[in-house]
Symmetry: C2
Subunit: 453 residues, 2 copies
């Protein structure tokens, strides 16, 4: 796959591009990317995916091959050469404002705002949605898992459950933004400078003559780092065997069975052998609900390996981000744009979000406003990140976004972040935004009534 291909888009973005050129429709447009409602079981989002999005905006191009493919596409049969010439010279030249990665976000709040010639803004839609949706979804899930683990380590183990290898890399990255300490994904470790973790698989044990040989060989190879897997045949007899061998591993892992009871038994047995520093890892369909239940039952687990839940969460498997036109500037006239169909109303105008704290510095609520409204004592969440197609902020390490997320969560009162039945964090919309929506409604429905006459 060409990573910065202009064809990484839906066909209608290109038909609209051709249509705008063909009809000489010249406009500058602003699009905002946000969720209308939080998904079930989510009370906040953790913004993620901006870094790869900015990279794409800077590097996206159409190759001659790709343009030739479009030239032969039946849809573009009657389209003038202007369109193909345009694509040959295509660059994204717009501006962008965004919430830095790791920022907590809520429904209705733009994570990203793009202002550009309308064709450019339109072609970018598909890539921006896919990238920010997925990484924000995973970072948000990771923050919940990490919150549930109450200081115990969470390691992302999802590479094999991700939607292909690239999704695995993004899941590792986003999990780290949400607070995971590392990943099992080696390429993610290299690419994003993340800590990587790994133990041994059941196959290692099964391939050897017996567990004793399997454990001994692994300890021979990794005298300091061996984490031995206990549940290939029988957890307790595996522990006894290791202790009989008298060779202390760095840790042990359980991947099935009653993790609460087994972990308590393992801890007690290891401690009795004087092995207080041998860590207990748990994996096997772990998520925030299971961690909460395990801790309630007194599980003695030092670190959780979380796979499926951080690759493709089952309790909220999609984050319906939208990318909506909110303003058009055409022939010198600036006009707010809004969708008015019953269930899908959107607010027009370029927006900013302010976050307010209470006296003790905790987050108290957000207000969505038009970009030129005064901040009072609110913290503006959207910052300029791109001007005329060039980045304004340097590439930041993932750890910076992670620190931002953890600092943000620390200021979010407990009632908003509990795993089940959290309170609803207050977000309101400014009067000027409400007025502007009404104005657009009157303009459009006025026209609708004229048509009906």
């Amino acid at each position: 796959m060409r990573e910065y291909s202009g064809l990484l888009t839906d066909l209608y973005e290109l038909t609209m591009a051709a249509g705008y050129l063909q009809t000489r429709f010249d406009a500058r447009a602003t699009f905002e990317l946000f969720v209308r409602h939080l998904p079930p079981h989510r009370n906040y989002l953790v913004a993620a995916g901006l870094e790869p999005a900015l990279e794409f905006l800077e590097k996206v191009r159409f190759t001659l091959d790709e343009i030739d493919y479009l030239r032969r596409h039946p849809t573009f049969r009657n389209i003038r050469d202007d369109f193909f010439d345009y694509l040959r010279d295509f660059r994204f030249t717009g501006d962008a404002w965004a919430m830095p990665e790791g920022t907590l976000a809520f429904a209705g709040e733009p994570l990203l705002r793009v202002t550009a010639p309308i064709i450019e803004g339109q072609i970018m839609e598909t890539y921006l949605l896919a990238t920010l949706s997925f990484q924000t979804m995973i970072a948000s899930k990771a923050a919940r898992v990490v919150t549930a683990a109450e200081g115990r380590h969470v390691v992302e183990f999802g590479a094999r459950r991700a939607h292909g290898p690239e999704a695995g890399l993004s899941a590792a990255r986003a999990s780290s933004i949400g607070g995971a300490v590392g990943t099992s994904n080696v390429l993610a470790g290299q690419k994003f400078d993340m800590a990587t973790y790994g133990t041994q698989a059941h196959s290692w044990v099964m391939a050897h003559e017996d567990e004793k040989e399997a454990f001994a060989h692994f300890l021979d190879a990794f005298p300091e780092h061996a984490v031995l897997l206990l549940d290939t045949y029988d957890v307790r007899s595996a522990v006894k065997k290791i202790i009989e061998m008298g060779r202390k591993p760095a840790g042990v892992r359980i991947d099935s069975g009653d993790l609460a009871e087994d972990s308590r038994w393992i801890r007690k047995t290891l401690d009795r052998a004087g092995w207080n520093h041998v860590s207990v890892f748990a994996s096997g369909d772990i998520d925030e609900y299971k961690i909460t239940a395990l801790l309630k039952k007194g599980a003695r687990i030092d670190a959780f390996g979380v796979g499926t839940a951080l690759a493709t969460p089952g309790d909220a498997p999609h984050l319906n981000l939208v990318y909506k036109l909110v303003e058009v500037e055409r022939a010198g006239k600036i006009q707010g744009a809004a969708k008015l169909s019953a269930a899908k109303v959107t607010y027009p105008g370029r927006k900013q979000v302010f976050r307010f704290s209470d006296a003790s510095g905790n987050w108290a609520g957000d207000r969505i406003v038009l970009e030129d409204e005064p901040a009072h004592d609110g913290l503006p969440l959207l910052v300029p990140v791109m001007k005329d197609g060039r980045r304004l902020i340097p590439k930041a390490p993932v750890s910076e976004a992670r620190d931002r997320c953890l600092a943000g969560l620390a200021r979010l009162p407990q009632k908003y972040k509990q795993i089940t039945r959290p309170a609803r964090y207050p977000v309101n919309v400014s009067h000027r935004l409400e007025d502007m929506l009404e104005k657009v409604r009157r303009r459009v429905t006025g026209k609708l009534s004229k048509t009906r006459r």
Copy 2:
């Protein structure tokens, strides 16, 4: 992302590799990839993802940079240079048998069987699982959506909902294998030679002065191909406007509202205008359940655009494929391998699957057997696809897998493929497999008891 990077794996695959080399453990192993149970709401799977998997097996390498990264990794601190030398020359040299893409598959049936030096087979695990899991999950979902549409066209619209751009490409490909007629994803169209479809977005309508200008401009640009979107403001007044303009579009699309009632009204109104050939497209959170309900309510829809459901299905968001060691050949001795932990028993030995038909040629049931058992009149589903690291089958077009899937579905009796409450397709396991599992159990538990003494 380097597409054929050896680092596209979990760290433990590499620690095991280093461990096998370090302890001079020399074995040839067979791994099988299958699901233990079908996910909820799934009664069959459609095998997909083999093509990219074979490509990876042929091309995977470790670069010097990547090896250097591992050399500096704390886990490999005490590992001899043999390991890094091994990675430098790494090639996959094994054999593979697989179900061709588009084959219907059931729980317990291997989709892929890999026999290779144990280190090679192990390192490939993560990539193979991620690739076959995702594409099989999507192809299986697509087959359900296509079945529900009863001959109406299904187009994959999920690029923006996929887990990143690469997942979008794979979803388009897998949807096509499951029977979709095409995709909105332009790069998928180019890469996989698939038909691409696109209409216009709400933003096109919102950017124009009014709907009339918006429709007129689009018809100017695409006189033969314009599909006009009706629900930006009000569906019925949009239809009236288009008819008043007297310019017949290729089709219309509705994306929200009461799709059943609106589509009936639209069809009647278009027909009354003499526009019987103008197609009605529907999109907006479409899946097999919604299609079934719409058709029951008499919806008049010619084609469905399906996004989220074909990118990240909510009713069964993960397919828990596993990749299990089933046989080890070490020092001339071949031994079956099995996992015996309570909930996760697997059968040892290299397997084949036979599919049996009834007198009228319909599928009657499957039998999972050891590879050398006689076929009787069953159709063997696993075929050799790779020998000594070289492909045995040429790269096939996606359409071939799609044809295989549709032919397979045509032979699957209705009771097994209905959308809700399908009957359970019969799959059994040969006596020789059961015997072999018992043998492994006796061998391993014999050893367990010895330890306990």
